[in-house]
């Protein structure tokens, strides 16, 4: 089955920022995104666990977004200022998709 190369951007970011990232993605009219829960983690800012938490602080979520390689740079440049001062990481990888027109 024919597949098409795309870029998968994954952003692990503090939960209070999630809404802003999403609003940003929606404003840019990316074809879509998905948000995944994260249970625990550690990074430069120390370690954390979601269980027992009542609010949004101290917890991360993972936002994943599949985009065309041509859009990648613009997306990263727009997202960078949002995540730069915050706790979080951004990774990019190659994926193949099966419905090209979908993205």
């Amino acid at each position: 089955m024919e597949t098409y190369l795309k870029k998968k951007v994954e952003i692990i970011i503090e939960a209070p920022l999630m809404r802003r990232i999403i609003e940003h993605l929606e404003a840019r009219q990316v074809s879509g995104y998905s948000v995944f829960p994260v249970l625990a983690g550690r990074g430069h800012e120390g370690s954390w666990r979601a269980d027992g938490l009542v609010g949004d602080t101290g917890r991360m979520v993972a936002v994943m977004c599949i985009v065309d390689a041509t859009e990648l740079d613009l997306l990263l440049e727009e997202i960078f200022p949002l995540v730069q001062q915050q706790i979080g990481i951004v990774t990019v990888s190659d994926v193949q998709v099966i419905r090209r027109d979908h993205f």
Binding site: E14, P16, L17, R19, R20, E45, G46, S47, W48, R49, A50, D51, G52, L53, V54, G55, D56, T57, G58, R59, Q85, Q86, I87
Partner: protein, 326 residues
């Protein structure tokens, strides 16, 4: 007065809610794998907010609104706005915190901890001390104003990034816990005696039990926070987290007297002023002051001030309130 403190303080220490808090704390420090799932913790929080708001509303409907309510709301707002300035001054004078971090910590102490408020009202209930229903509204009013003050402080000190936007204000004001608390208060007012009677088994009879479960979870969180944030507990900051609540309580007590609050209401205003936020404010600050290190304020407010208020503060403020307003 000391006697009026020691007996309730011991009584407080053997209340199931405090003991479950201690159990969580010990379990966490011993590194037990005990954990309350996030969804459960959120359910418990919504339950407590809904119940305390609703009960305050039905109280309010029963006793009616009077001038003291407006005065108490004003006092709460003033405390919430003024406290961060005082806290900032103290922190800058006594610690080496950067301005942006000091402003962030100050915001925690201007705002309130609704769980501390709930524990205090639960302790009053157990001692059959009544309090004004509108104190729930005062709690809500104090939640967010401190953030405004902290942003002003940060900007003045060249530490705030940019001007707070309308989006930020909406996020701060429409914070889920504020919405449930105020919403339930209004619903309590509107639905009156009949509604109150209908919900009593849920909002009143189960309350102590759910509070135990919730404080078990808080104990786990405090233990975890103490472990992860221990580098922020060095002396000047650690002392601040014990002294600031006393300062706040004193201010709260002074404001309560001219208003003529009941002893119970006075104890609650003192508790509110003494308490520090660890849910709403930290989340808002991640949006408003992202440069601030989030773990300093959280360690001090959740790790030190919260247990201090729970174990020592609440009976202390209650005793003082009985004395000055009795």
């Amino acid at each position: 007065m000391l006697q009026n403190f020691i007996e309730p303080a011991l009584h407080n220490l053997t209340s199931p809610a405090i003991l479950f808090f201690g159990l969580g704390l010990v379990a966490s420090l011993l590194r037990s794998d005990l954990a309350i799932p996030e969804a459960t913790a959120k359910l418990l929080a919504v339950y407590l907010l809904l119940s305390i708001g609703f009960r305050g509303g039905t109280e309010l409907a029963h006793h009616g609104i009077d001038g003291r309510m407006l005065a108490a709301l004003g006092a709460g707002a003033a405390l919430s706005f003024a406290t961060p300035f005082a806290a900032f001054a103290v922190l800058r004078a006594t610690t080496t915190l950067r301005p942006v971090d000091a402003a962030a910590v100050a915001a925690h102490y201007g705002s309130i901890s609704i769980v501390t408020f709930i524990a205090a009202s639960n302790a009053l209930d157990r001692q059959s001390i009544t309090y004004e229903g509108f104190m729930v509204g005062v709690a809500a009013a104090m939640e967010t104003l401190a953030i405004v003050a902290a942003l002003l402080i940060a900007q003045r000190n060249g530490a705030g990034s940019s001007r707070p936007t309308a989006a930020l204000w909406r996020e701060v004001i429409l914070n889920g816990s504020v919405v449930v608390l105020i919403g339930a208060l209004f619903i309590g007012i509107v639905s009156g005696e009949r509604g109150a009677a209908l919900l009593r088994p849920f909002t009143n009879e189960l309350f102590p039990g759910f509070l135990c479960l919730f404080l078990l979870d808080m104990g786990l969180l405090v233990g975890r926070g103490l472990e992860q944030g221990r580098q922020h507990l060095a002396l000047p900051a650690g002392l601040f987290a014990l002294g600031m609540p006393l300062l706040g309580a004193a201010a709260g007590g002074l404001l309560a007297m001219p208003i003529g609050l009941s002893p119970g209401g006075t104890a609650l205003l003192m508790t509110l002023a003494a308490s520090a936020s660890y849910i709403a404010v930290p989340a808002a600050l991640r949006l408003a002051l992202p440069d601030a290190n989030p773990s300093i304020g959280l360690t001090l407010s959740l790790g030190v001030t919260f247990p201090f208020n729970l174990v020592v503060g609440i009976p202390l403020y209650t005793a003082v309130a009985a004395w000055i307003a009795g």
